[in-house]
Symmetry: C2
Subunit: 149 residues, 2 copies
DNA sequence: TTAATTGCAAATCGTTTGCTGAAAG
DNA sequence: CTTTCAGCAAACGATTTGCAATTAA
């Protein structure tokens, strides 16, 4: 049902911007909604192609942009040259913990840090609007492997 | 004198990797050392060109890579499609506070946050090796302007 | 002399854009 | 009808790479 609401939110976004729902957009949004975790535009493109081979890559890029603007998706760039997307609808803010060996990503949040960030910003006179935090390290599995190697 | 040591550190790095100091590298490293704040490879390229118009862009890219490996420089990508560099020699870890309007960047650190990050990672079984944190907001100057507008 | 380095231009790669025909309201 | 779309291919912009000529050790 979260899917239903999310989809409707997207349709509403389109309507309120004099933009149309189209078969292609419906397909892409559908694929987006059933994709968990972090993925690139290209990942989604490949997924969509399995169902609708006619869809162009540009359409996926354009639709992902709409998804972000509509609030359904969030995107971030970890500096690897690719933009990653994730669900933002019914999915509160969080940061990322990334394994530098296997690439596994975990979502994390910490109230203390969130609060400190606002204080820190204010101390410099800034009004904080958002932030991005990436923690890099070895995940338990990879650490164990590392010891064996 | 920090400049002297930094330069020597770079030369040592080259020597220990059977790489040579060259006039081009010396020029680029010199320009790098006298550039404060955050800058892109292209920024440095333009600066270097004023002195040595013959230097190629690829050489600047290549030398910046060496500067990072030697520990003189640190680089990060804020997702704007450009890699930014800054001094890392005699310049301890810090995070960034960025004005979303004028782009001004301030360096920040907070012991509480740093400590919490390690704890958070450990709670997930990760061994933290490094992190990146960007706080985005309106700087005091821009906020004031915003009110007037 | 031998390995490392340079500058240039061509190649990459993810992403964006211009364009023309097609479709939505 | 009028505007918004889609698909394609070309354009882009930052960065990398292949290569032949040059230089450092």
């Amino acid at each position: 049902m979260s899917g239903k609401n999310a989809y409707q939110t997207f349709v509403d976004y389109l309507l309120s911007n004099s933009q149309n729902m189209t078969p292609q957009r419906a397909t892409i949004v559908g694929a987006f909604l059933e994709t968990e975790g972090h993925f690139s535009s290209e990942d989604l493109y490949h997924k969509v192609r399995k169902t609708e081979p006619g869809i162009g890559q540009a359409t996926v890029y354009r639709t992902l942009k709409l998804l972000v603007r509509s609030g359904l998706a969030d995107c971030f760039d970890m500096g690897e040259g690719v933009t990653l997307y994730e669900h933002a609808y019914d999915h509160p803010h969080h940061d990322h913990l990334i394994c530098t060996r296997c690439g596994r990503k975990e979502e994390i949040v910490d109230e203390t840090i969130e609060r400190r960030q606002v204080e820190l910003a204010e101390r410099s006179g800034f009004t904080l609007s958002r932030h991005r935090m990436f923690l890099y390290g070895l995940c338990p599995v990879c650490r164990r492997k590392g010891i064996k190697d």
